[in-house]
Each structure stands twice: as C-alpha cells, then as structure tokens.
C-alpha cells in the first residue's frame, strides 16, 4: 500500500470509528430526551445520509475525482461540524413526540431529521470517495472502514462509564479534524487554517453544552421533568453510564406506593424518587430501624408472596431502590437481589446507603451486580420465592414511552428457568400494571400457564394464584399445587386489605371482583379462557397479540396485531390513541420513509443521470447501459440489507446469551465488523479469483442457514459457562462468518475495478439505503415472527446477492493500476 493509501486508510478508520460511536451516542441522547422508539426513528433516518452520499458522489464524480484528496479533507472537516451540530440540534430543538397526536410539529421535526442526516452524509461522502478513488487499494480501505466501525461502539460504551454522552459527541466530532490531518499536514498555513476551522465546530458545541451544564432537556412528559416542577424538588444524586442516566430526586411531594391498600390509614415514610433516563423507577424509602417497622409495606399487594413464604429464602430480580429487599426483610426472608445497572448499585451502596438504612448490605441481604437470566443460568441455588416485579414503575409505560424493546425476562423460557430454581414448594411472583385495554398483563398469565405446561404440569390452574387491585396484577406461580391452607392465608391477606382474587384453586367467582370492580372482569375471563380448552380460539379472537413470547421472539411489550389500533380507537371513546400504543408501527414508518427517500434521492437521480449519459454516449460514466446498473445496484443493496439483517439476528441471539445488554451489543458488533474487516483485507491480499465471489456468498448462505437451525441448541448448554468462555464461544462462532461477510463487497469492487469511479457511488448508495431499510424491517420481522425468521430472511437476501452477482461484471474488465488518490491535477503526496 502506498503512503497515500495508508494515510487514507487511517482517515477512513478514524471517520468510521467516530461515526458508529456517534450513532450510539445520539441514540443515547434521544432515548434520554424522548424515548427509545423515537430515538431509533430519528437516527434510522439520519443514517440515510450514507445512501444519499452515493447519489452526490455520482452526480459530482468528475469534479471530485479531479482533486480527491482535497475533497476528502473537506468531507472530513465537514464531518467535524456536522457531528458537533447534530447532537446540539437533537438536544435543543423544541420537538415533543408525545404531542404528535394533536400537533405534527413539522418544522422542528424536519429540522431535527435534516441535521441528523448531516454527519452520516459527510461520513458517507468521505468513505465513498475514498473507496472510489482507491483503485486496487479498495479492499484495504473497506477493511479500515469496517475495523473503525467495529471499534467505535466499543469505545463509546467504555467511555460512557466515564463521561456523559453529550461530552463524548464533542470528543468524537474532533475525529473529522484528525481524519483530515493526512491531507492537510503538508499544506502549510492554509492547511492549519482549515484544520482550525474544522475544530471550531466541536469547540462551539462544547461551549454551548458547557453553558447548559452538559444536560439534555428532557421531554416535559417524562416523570423526572414533572417532579422537577415540584416546589422543593432537587436532584441530589446523578450518575450516567451505558445503561442510562440515573437521577435521585428529593421532594416532600415525592411518594411512591403502587399496590397500596385503600385500607391503609398511616403516613408514608420519607422517600427519594429514583429515575432512569427520566422515567420513574419507583422510590428509595428512608429506613432507620427494622424494616418490619415500615407498616406501609405490609399493606402492599406485592407483599402477599412474602407473607406466604415467611422466613424462607428469596431472590428479587431488579433490586432497584430496595423495595423488594425491604419487604423480604420485613417478613423475615433472607434475600438475594439482582441489579443490572451498576450506577444504581453504586448509589445504593454509596451516597444513599445511610438514607436507605444500608438495605443493600444488611444481614440477610446479598446484591449481585449482574443480569438475571445469566445469573440464574450460572447458579444452582434453590429459592422459596423468586420475585420478578414490574420493573417499570407504575405509569412509566403509559406516560414516558419507556416501553422496552427486547425483554428476555418475560419469555416462557425465562419463567421456566425461574421455576426450575425454586424449591419444590417454592413460589414465583410476577407483577404487572393494569392497562387501559388489557394486554401485557394477560400475556403474563398466558406465559405462566405455558411455562407450567412445559414443566409437565397437568392442571396449571392448580398452580396459579392471581390477585389484583385497581392498578396492579400479581401472578403467583407455584411448582407444586397450592394447598388449602395457603389459599386461606391468601384469602385473609387479600380481604383484610380489600384486594381481589382473580384466580386460585377453590376460589369461586363470588370471591372475585368485589373490592375493585371491573365490568366485565376481563382478567377473570381471560384466565378461565387461557386455562380452558378454547385457549387457541381466545388468543386468536383477542384484539391484541397476547400469546406467550419465547426467547426467539422476546418482545413482551409488543402486542399489536391486525386491527388492534382500530380497537383502541373504538374503545377510547373518541380520545386519542396514545403514542406508546402505536410506537412499534414506527419501525414500518421508518422503513417506508427510508424507501421513499431512497426512490427520491437515489433511484431517481441515478436513472435520470444514466439516461442522460446514455443519450450522450457516455456509457462508462454511469456503470454501463441496459440492465447492468440495476443488477449492480441490486447486488450491493442485497449485501447491505443482508449484512444488517444478520447483524440484528446475531445481536438478538447473543445479547441474550452473553446476558450483558450494552456490552454484548458493542462486543458482538466489534467481532462482526472487525472480522469482516479482516475478511475484506485478506480478500484484497489474496487476490481471489473470479469464482470466489459466488463461492463466498454460497458459504455465507450455508453457514447462516445452519446457524438458524442449530444456534439456539448450541448456545443453550453454554449459558452456564463463565463470562470469558462465553465470549470465546461467540468469537469462535462469529469470526468465520464475519470474515466471509467482509469479502463480497471488495471482491465485487475488484471485478468492477476498471470503472470504480462510476460504480462505487452506485454501489455505496444502494448499500447505504438498503442497510437503513433493512434495519427497520429486520427489527419488525423479529417482533412479528422472531429471530429465526430474520435469520432465514437474511440467508434469502444473500442468495439474491449471489444471483445478482452473475450479471455485474463487464465483458472485458480493465483493472485499475497505479497510485490511488491521484486526480487529474493533484499528486498523491501533496494535496
């Protein structure tokens, strides 16, 4: 590789590194400001900048290739500005997604989307031009891009432990200046001036963020914003990490007691509000003496399982502010708490230890800083009680839009795993909130029944005790059938506190729906239907998808099916259907917007320009004539779509397997993209023959189909392995596939080398647009049909790429030789 190409490879690495890091950081900022749904939509559309860069490169190819190094420097510096501007715009332009049903806010939305496109457009222009001008060095340039893309998210996740996302966006924005260095370093004063000019963008962003205290203004509809409006409210602790921003707020008006009996006459103890990304996680309660002295916790519906298993050993999934630990200790149970968020653990064991009565470290309490499924898979302990509370605070789902995407805790397998860790008389306690139109809470009952059936239970109804009040549902699942004594104790507990039975062995309908009246009692009806012979018909007829979810499709909160929204509209008596109820449809909206923009900004301009070029007889300029450009576009589009579909399926599988949501995502991306980079590099070095492209594509399809069939079975027995060994297993599985996946793009470019300048923009644009469309569609397919379906779809897309590969080579390819990055008036060593 020449010095010039080496410098470009370095710059491409830096830009890709910063771009992927920026994508993750923008997602973080928007998830904090609004919700994950809208964050994905905005960033998804922003990524279309990659596709649009292909169009621009094609339209201006002649000018760009006359001075490629100068333009590369310009694009790198533009990246600096755009990467600094986009986070500012996304953080401060007033736009309120929750008001969308009444106010479209088109101007701010369009401005946010346009500015979100810019950094990805600049990065796309830079990398696309670098590839187009690379000649025979293209595979190595592509490899550098993949290496950078793999390393960026890992760096961002690691740095999020130390700094806020807004700060990191500023740091990564300087990457453009670094990337421009190889092109400007020998340009004297003009080069220095250009570099300083590039640095001004991030510096300006830093000063604005600094002026605002490095804080993103949250939607006024987030719980934290509302609490901040209380007269005496103040944030007393604040921590930020890859799993989100944690705030602790002090206010006399802060009370949290979901599931509290209406018969409770006492006062509530002093509490501190606990918030994750601005959504409520409940409260931290002041504890000064014995937890048993906190009378209100014995008046909670969720205290029932502890009452039934007094003196035993419990496990609480989601230790959070310590409520479950308090209830357990108040009832004499020793308890293990699992808390995945290290920031919360640090707060509870540090600044809030005194206030919370050192509940995390009291005798009889152990707290593990880990993820629940992984923890259960690795240990053989048995418990008398396992508690999976509603991990979102009451009202969170409805009010803040914090509906999680993938929820591996509420699958049939997860419930089965919990049951397997119970003593023979042990109880699993599951909590959920009642919705305006019941959905997840009924799905939870269906999930418990299915898990019991898979354990070989003949009469699941004998193992279920379900109770509720006006806002909460409690599902108690016992490995053995419930005894009459236990039912009597539950009856006494519920009656004393005016809670209702929904279902329990020996409990008739006369004992249900007495204190909290529903007309009709949908929960009783649903439980009877799910336990009866007509379950399938009930599930099919229910207006929402309430069938149990599995690890293959772990989207517990996604319940829309055909006709669901119409039902919501009808039932809401003319009111608006809240945005959270249709947020999952945003994925389809995102794909449609991307497809429409692809037509407008990609297919249209290419078709028009190609037709014009043909009329002028310039067939070379637009990748030839006839159907070939279409085949080329389809081939590279299939590569982009297939790669992203595989990426999403892999992330779904391995996040569960590695049991570390953020770390696993970054790590898997790093292995996948890094491996692909290595594959790309080797493909260039080995100068593989003409048949290699189709062989590689066939290899990917075969490997991937086998993976679809075997991967879940292979992974299951390995889940109990220690962390390091599970990472080794992931790397061993992924690296061969990743290396194969890195080959087709550079191999195809090599076959088109004689016309790289015209083909690369076409390939780059098609690849970029298809990737964005595929990202939304693959997630939608995963939600609707599961990861296996995504896996098979990805294999199908690669099969299409193999079919399209046949028609993309010219009769007599003329491979490019000589020094890359040398334009008509420009020398490689002196831009």
């Amino acid at each position: 590789m020449s010095d010039g190409a080496r410098g470009v490879a370095f710059s491409v690495f830096v830009i890709s590194f910063a771009t992927l890091a920026l994508e993750l950081l923008l997602l973080r900022i928007l998830s904090l400001r609004w919700s994950h749904h809208f964050a994905s939509l905005v960033i998804g559309i922003g990524l279309l900048g990659f596709g649009a860069s292909g169009t621009l490169l094609a339209l201006f190819q002649r000018g760009l290739h006359e001075r490629p190094r100068r333009w590369l420097a310009a694009f790198a510096l533009a990246f600096s500005w755009a990467a600094a501007l986009a986070p500012l715009a996304l953080a401060y332009i007033p736009f309120e997604p929750y008001r969308l049903p009444i106010d479209l806010q088109l101007l701010p939305l369009a401005t946010e989307l346009s500015l979100a496109v810019l950094p990805f457009l600049a990065a796309g222009l830079f990398t696309g031009l670098a590839l187009a001008a690379a000649g025979s060095a293209a595979p190595r340039i592509y490899a550098a891009s993949l290496f950078g893309a793999g390393a960026g998210p890992v760096a961002a996740v690691l740095l999020l432990h130390a700094a806020k996302p807004e700060m990191l966006t500023v740091i990564f924005a300087f990457a453009g200046v670094v990337a421009a260095l190889p092109f400007l370093v020998r340009s004297g004063a003009a080069g220095v001036a250009a570099l300083l000019g590039g640095a001004l963008g991030p510096l300006a962003a830093a000063s604005i963020f600094f002026g605002a205290g490095w804080d993103v203004p949250l939607s006024e509809y987030k719980a934290l914003s509302r609490v901040h409006g209380f007269p005496d409210a103040k944030t007393i602790h604040h921590a930020s990490g890859p799993l989100g921003r944690v705030d602790v707020v002090q206010s006399r008006a802060e009370h949290y007691a979901a599931g509290l009996s209406m018969n409770y006459q006492g006062d509530l103890p002093e509490q501190r509000g606990l918030f994750l990304d601005g959504g409520s996680l409940g409260a931290i309660t002041r504890l000064e003496g014995d937890p048993a002295e906190l009378s209100y916790i014995r008046a909670l519906l969720f205290a029932l399982p502890y009452e039934l298993r007094r003196g035993g050993r419990a496990l609480a999934i989601g230790a959070g502010g310590g409520l479950e630990l308090l209830i357990a200790r108040a009832h004499g149970l020793s308890i293990d708490g699992i808390e995945m968020n290290p920031e919360i653990v640090d707060l509870m064991m540090g600044p809030l230890a005194e206030f919370s009565g050192r509940i995390y470290t009291r005798p009889g309490v152990r707290v593990f800083r880990t993820e629940a499924r992984g923890h259960l898979a690795r240990q053989t302990d048995r418990y008398d009680l396992i508690v999976l509370p509603a991990l979102d605070a009451f009202g969170t789902l409805a009010v803040t839009g914090a509906a999680p995407g993938e929820t591996p805790l509420y699958t049939v397998e997860a419930v089965g795993e919990c049951l397997a860790h119970l003593e023979p008389e042990g109880v699993l306690s599951l909590g959920r909130w009642l919705r305006n139109v019941p959905r997840e809470e009924i799905r939870l009952i269906a999930t418990a029944i299915r898990a019991l059936e898979l354990l070989g239970t003949d009469a699941p109804g004998d193992h279920l005790l379900i109770a509720r009040d006006w806002e909460s549902l409690l599902v108690l699942v016992k490995r053995a059938p419930w005894h009459g004594k236990e039912i009597a104790a539950a009856r006494s507990f519920l009656k004393e506190r005016s809670f209702d039975f929904v279902h329990a062995p020996g409990v008739s309908s006369a004992e249900t729906n007495r204190f909290h009246i529903l007309t009709p009692d949908l929960y009783r009806e649903a439980t009877e239907a799910l336990l009866g012979p007509d379950r399938a018909a009930y599930l099919a007829a229910y207006p929402f998808d309430i069938a149990p979810v599995t690890d293959d499709r772990p989207f517990f909160f996604h319940t829309l099916k055909r006709g669901s929204l119409e039902v919501l509209r009808e039932r809401s008596a003319g009111q608006l259907v809240p945005i959270d109820d249709w947020a999952e449809r945003l994925l389809i909206a995102s794909a449609l917007v991307a497809a429409a923009l692809a037509l407008v900004f990609f297919a249209g301009p290419f078709a028009l320009a190609a037709a014009s070029a043909r009329r002028r007889g310039e067939t070379q300029a637009w990748a030839g004539a006839g159907a070939r450009p279409v085949r080329i576009a389809l081939f590279f589009a299939a590569l982009g779509a297939g790669y992203i579909a595989i990426e999403i399926a892999l992330l779904g599988r391995f996040i569960q397997f590695l049991a570390q949501p953020i770390g696993a995502a970054a790590g898997v991306l790093a292995i996948l993209l890094g491996g692909s980079g290595a594959g790309s590099y080797l493909a260039g070095r080995l100068a593989l023959g003409r048949k290699a492209l189709r062989a590689v594509l066939a290899g990917i399809v075969v490997y991937w189909v086998l993976a679809a069939l075997l991967l879940p079975r292979i992974l299951e027995p390995l889940r109990a392995w220690p962390d390091a060994w599970r990472w080794v297993a992931v790397a061993a599985f992924l690296l061969p596939l990743a290396m194969l996946m890195g080959c087709p793009f550079p191999l195809a470019l090599a076959r088109l080398a004689g016309e790289a300048r015209s083909v690369v923009p076409l390939a780059w644009g098609a690849n970029g647009f298809a990737s964005v469309i595929s990202a939304s569609l693959a997630q939608y397919v995963a939600i609707e049909r599961g990861y296996t379906a995504v896996t098979l779809a990805a294999a199908g897309i690669y099969l299409c790429a193999a079919a399209a590969a046949a028609g993309i080579t010219q009769q007599a390819p003329a491979p490019a030789r000589g020094a890359p990055y040398v334009g008509g008036t420009e020398r490689a060593t002196s831009p």
Binding site: E96, Y98, R99, P101, I102, D103, S219, E220, Y221, K222, S225, R226, G229, F230, P231, R252, A253, H255, Y256, A258, G259, L260, M262, N263, Y264, Q265, G266, L268, A393, F394, G395, A398, V399, L434, N436, V437, D469, W470, E471, S498, R514, F515, H516, I517, L518, T519, P520, L522, L568, E570, R571, S572, A573, G574, Q575, L576, V577, P578, I579, D580
Partner: protein, 270 residues
C-alpha cells in the same frame, strides 16, 4: 445603497408594527361577535362530543355550555379550545378532553349543596365546571405557574366559589375536610391515604388514569356509609354504556347557585 435604506428599515419595523396592531384591543362589536362564535362552538361541543356520547346530566351539560374553555387554554391553542381532544398546558400537564371533564363531573353525582376537592388544578377548567354545579370547590395545584394562572383566570371569569391552594395535593385540604367528592386529576402511583380519609362516607372520588395525550380509564372510588371503600374501573367505551339515561335522571339540574363575593375568594385563597 441609500435608496434601499428606508425599505430595509421598513422591513425591519414591519413585524413589530403588525405585532402591535394585533395586540390592539378589539372593539365591543368584535368582542361580541367573537363571544357568539365561541358560544356556538361550545354548543356544538356539548351536543356532538358529550350528549352524543351518552351524557345526559343537565347540570353538567349546562356547566359545559357556560364555561368559556377558550379562556383557559394557552393562547396558542385558543383556536383548538373546543376540539374533541386534550391540549397541552405546560409542565407535562393537559387540559382534559371536554368529554372526559363532562364524564368525571357527571360520574360524581354532584348537587348544589356539595363541596368538592380537586387535586391538580391544571388549567382550572375542571374546577370552573364544578363551580357551576356545586357550592364550593377547593382546588390544589403543585406547580406554581399553573396555580397562579388558573387562579387569575377563574377570578377574571367571576367564579367566586373556588378556593385555590398551591401545595402537594396528596395531603388533601385537611382544614376543609370532609368533602362530598374528590377529583384527582394528576398521575399518582396510589390513592393517597389522606384523600381517602377526607372523603365523606357516601362520597365519591374520581381518578383518570392514563397518558397525557391518550385514552384514559376512569377509576371511581366509592366510600359507603360505613367507611368501606371500593373502586369501579371504567374501560373506554364500556364506560359509556354505564352512563344510562336513568343516571341522568337521578341528578336534578342544578339551580342557580349563590356565589360568594370575590373578597371571600381572596380570603380563602391560601
């Protein structure tokens, strides 16, 4: 260049002139025309959005017909004041959809002698509607800006039987307890024990549960003569079916109420 200066100056000044012109108070005729237009919109709101959905309680309908909702929404939403939807009022709060306000009002079975506590004054619209029906409304708001705005607007509207307090509503209004009815219009994870204590035996409490811009279910809390408490949850249109014409008959139209002078209001506004 010189010739362009006046034109540029005019261009610069024009927006300010137009803005000032827009602020010139309308004449009496214009005011009357505007009032008539809003009255027509209110009438249509009552007929199309409320009566058509099954609410027949004449006292509620009369109050909804009378209260000028457009005076209680933020200025930029005045044109939408009588639309069939909630509107934002700041601080993450909304002025409820007219139908929900009517529903909650009729659900409480209020009469002219009743005293009602409202937790979450918000825009003041619900308090104003209640004030047309009952003897006295006590309303609490935790956000100072909302509290002051609602207090000023309702005073301007001449509603003297509303007392305002800027405080944490979960504690209720102990000095004026017990109440015949309570409306809790702000999100809460639980029904505050203090409010249950301050509800009279035989009284009702209404709590809308749901997102700010979405379908809300109403939870009706009823305290019987012995002090036992039950809830009744109304899901979407299922609730509409429960509001039978017979219910409306149970509630006689409210006679014209005796209003306290404005001075009383000031004294009670703590």
């Amino acid at each position: 260049m010189k010739t362009k200066m006046p034109a540029l100056a005019l261009l610069f000044v024009l927006p300010f002139v137009l803005n000032a012109a827009a602020r010139v108070p309308a004449g009496p005729e214009e005011k009357a025309a505007e009032a008539a237009r809003f009255a027509k919109l209110r009438e249509r709101m009552v007929e199309d959005q409320i009566r058509a959905r099954g609410i027949k309680d004449e006292a509620t309908l009369a109050a909804m017909r009378k209260i000028e909702r457009h005076k209680l929404v933020p200025d930029n939403y005045i044109a939408d004041a009588y639309e069939d939807r909630p509107l934002p009022i700041g601080h993450g709060q909304t002025i409820s959809q007219p139908y929900i306000v009517a529903l909650m009002t009729s659900l409480l079975g209020l009469g002219p002698g009743h005293r009602v506590l409202e937790v979450g004054t918000g825009s003041g619209y619900q308090a104003a509607v209640l004030a047309e029906i009952v003897a006295k409304v006590y309303t609490i708001e935790i956000y100072r800006a909302l509290h002051e705005r609602a207090r000023d607007r309702l005073t301007e509207m001449g509603l003297a039987n509303v007392a305002f307090r800027h405080a944490d509503g979960a504690l209720g209004w102990q000095e004026e307890a017990p109440f015949d009815a309570i409306i809790v219009t702000c999100a809460a994870s639980h029904i505050p024990p203090a409010l249950l204590k301050q509800l009279k035996p035989g009284g009702k409490m209404c709590i809308p549960v749901g997102p700010p811009f979405g379908d809300q279910r109403l939870v009706l809390v009823e305290k019987d003569a012995d002090g036992a408490v039950t809830t009744r949850t109304i899901l979407g249109v299922v609730f509409v079916a429960l509001i039978k014409p017979a219910d409306a008959g149970d509630q006689a139209p409210a006679p014209e109420e005796e209003k306290k002078p404005a001075e009383d209001k000031k004294r009670e506004d703590r």
